[in-house]
């Protein structure tokens, strides 16, 4: 299976949620959504984002929008005005997750138009 960045089969939007952030992952096709539901687990996201997020990762799904939503509990260096970080609002966390490298089956790639 070819190894591609998550950005090949999904896009993302992120922002702050209190002391943490959310990353909404938008699959680029129904095939990509079904595949990501299997492989883009809370554990996979926690491992990939470990340098940004110190807390738990919780996943929600919205089948109607082909969206997997991840809540990162402690990813803003305290959040709000307590944070010393440049990205105190988690604006770039979506792009960070899209850098994840995945082995994606050919049939999923074939069914998913490249951006």
């Amino acid at each position: 299976m070819p190894i591609v960045p998550l950005a090949r089969i999904a896009s993302a939007r992120s922002g702050d949620k209190g002391r943490g952030s959310n990353v909404g992952v938008l699959a680029r096709s129904e095939g990509a959504y079904a595949f990501l539901k299997e492989v883009l687990t809370e554990e996979a996201v926690r491992d990939h984002m470990h340098a940004i997020n110190r807390g738990a990762v919780t996943r929600y799904t919205a089948d109607n929008m082909l969206v997997l939503n991840f809540l990162l509990a402690d990813s803003l260096g305290g959040g709000g005005s307590e944070s010393l970080l440049t990205d105190a609002q988690g604006k770039t966390h979506g792009l960070a997750l899209l850098r994840m490298e995945l082995s994606v089956p050919d049939e999923v790639l074939d069914a998913t138009p490249a951006p």
Partner: protein
């Protein structure tokens, strides 16, 4: 506008301001470049209320979004001529001062019949002890900690009010509705309740209006701004701010004015639906619990996305309260380090600062200090898949925090001297010496709805 709006089939509601500091061109162009019935404006982030509280304590005529008055001064004649009504949470912690400033603007323009409504009841700072005595616990929603831990340091406390008081203000004929803290989607839902006569039990309809409000509450973030596939977005400089074409049955279409930049399609709208999302099946507001997994999005022509099938459930018996409290001090500053060896020199610079502070008996713990090398993979440190080549320069950004203001203020004076007493090529100190600023902590809590009184007051400058 017709005297009775409730027979209208479609109402155009736009959002022209996603936060305090958003471009003034958004709302100006919404009013000038196409048809519109309502212009909503969102000025309040969590930290804003506390800043406004501080401004008001220094000057009783301050504590609201002054940008709003500047905007209205610019667009008021067009609002009246085109019969556009405005709903804005610009009141902050001092909605009457905001209203007084607006009345002056209206008088200066010499326009009749511009009624201004003020929605109040969100500010409970002065009622905290009374409400606590009545049985409210105000435990932190995230941590469960009791309010007593921070009670003496609380600087603002505001309830997120719902959309019905806004509808009531519109029912009373207001041209401009000013609120303090309310939910962001409520600014958009309020006009729908007014226009279509929706009631508190119409949960699916209220949920539809809430979803519509969520989609447009961050301005251009649903029309191609902050969008992953950004190269495909045309004419971002002239990006169109979003408009909801709302209908009485709860179905609505997201769109923008013809001829503006950006794009409205299922993907740009879905990007914004995913913004600040929690549990999508339970989007809690004071008016309804909306189910973001219930609806269907479909392209309905160029730059038009239709949303249908939204469902909702009855709301909870509580309002969310957002409190702010003083939580110590911080200082952040930066210098630019030119190459060769920019990254190595910047790391040495940071160590020099910590060492010099230590020489003077000042030490910050690992959670109290921060070093970033901006330009050398700061935002995605530990994540970026590829090795980045040595940058030709980096910005060294350093910060400290703590409860002792004097200690935090000891940091700034040791940053700038690196220019003459560190490695070569250190520059960019134009911002001067960083000073301690107060950290504002947030305390999210709940309060029983029955204990909160909202009020709507309408002011008519022509005295009619």
């Amino acid at each position: 506008m017709a005297a009775d709006h409730r027979d209208r089939r479609e109402v155009l509601i736009a959002n022209g301001q996603g936060f305090w500091g958003d471009s003034i061109l958004g709302p100006v162009r919404l009013v000038e470049e196409g048809p519109l019935d309502y212009l909503t404006l969102d000025y309040l982030a969590e930290v804003t209320m506390s800043i406004m509280q501080k401004l008001r304590s220094r000057d009783p005529s301050k504590g609201y979004a002054t940008d709003f008055v500047t905007l209205i001064d610019r667009i008021l004649p067009a609002l009246v001529e085109r019969d556009v009504r405005v709903v804005a949470n610009a009141g902050g912690v001092n909605p009457h001062a905001c209203k007084d400033a607006l009345l002056e603007v209206v008088a200066r323009h010499g326009l009749d019949g511009v009624k201004i409504a003020v929605v109040e009841g969100d500010d409970i700072l002065g009622r905290l002890d009374e409400l606590t005595d009545a049985g409210e616990v105000f435990a932190n929603m995230d941590t469960g900690r009791p309010l007593s831990e921070v009670r003496e340091r609380i600087t603002s406390a505001n309830v997120y009010l719902g959309a019905f008081p806004i509808a009531e203000a519109l029912d009373q004929g207001a041209r401009i509705v000013i609120t303090g803290r309310g939910t962001d989607p409520g600014l958009v839902l309020g006009p729908m309740i007014h226009e279509f006569g929706w009631g508190t039990q119409d949960h699916d309809l209220l949920a539809a209006g809430t979803v519509a409000g969520h989609i447009i509450e961050c301005g251009a973030q649903c029309t191609g701004g902050n969008y992953t596939d950004w190269r495909s977005i045309e004419d971002m400089a002239r990006i169109g701010y979003p408009i909801v074409a709302a209908r009485p049955d709860g179905e609505f279409t997201v769109t923008k004015h013809d001829g503006t930049g950006g794009r409205v399609d299922v993907d740009t709208v879905t990007h914004q639906l995913a913004y600040e999302m929690g549990d999508p099946a339970n989007y809690v507001t004071p008016d309804v619990i909306a189910d973001f997994t219930s609806f269907r999005l479909e392209q309905d022509g160029r730059d038009r996305v239709k949303v249908s099938g939204v469902t909702g459930a009855p709301p909870t018996p509580t309002y969310k309260v957002s409190m702010a409290y003083r939580d110590g001090w911080k200082a952040v500053g930066q210098l630019t380090v030119a190459g060769p060896d920019a990254v190595e020199k910047a790391r040495v610079c940071a160590e020099i600062v910590w060492d010099r502070l230590r020489l003077d008996g000042v030490e910050f713990g690992p959670d109290e200090r921060m070093v970033e090398l901006v330009g050398a993979n700061t935002c995605h440190a530990g994540i970026a898949a590829a090795e980045t080549p040595e940058p030709s320069e980096v910005v060294l950004r350093m910060g400290v925090k703590g409860t002792d203001r004097a200690k935090v203020d000891r940091f700034g004076p040791e940053l700038v001297p690196l220019v003459t007493s560190g490695p070569p090529g250190v520059t960019g100190f134009a911002g001067g010496r960083p000073k301690a600023t107060e950290i504002i902590g947030f305390w999210p809590a709940l309060v029983t709805k029955e204990r909160i009184e909202t009020s709507v007051e309408v002011f008519d400058p022509s005295g009619a």
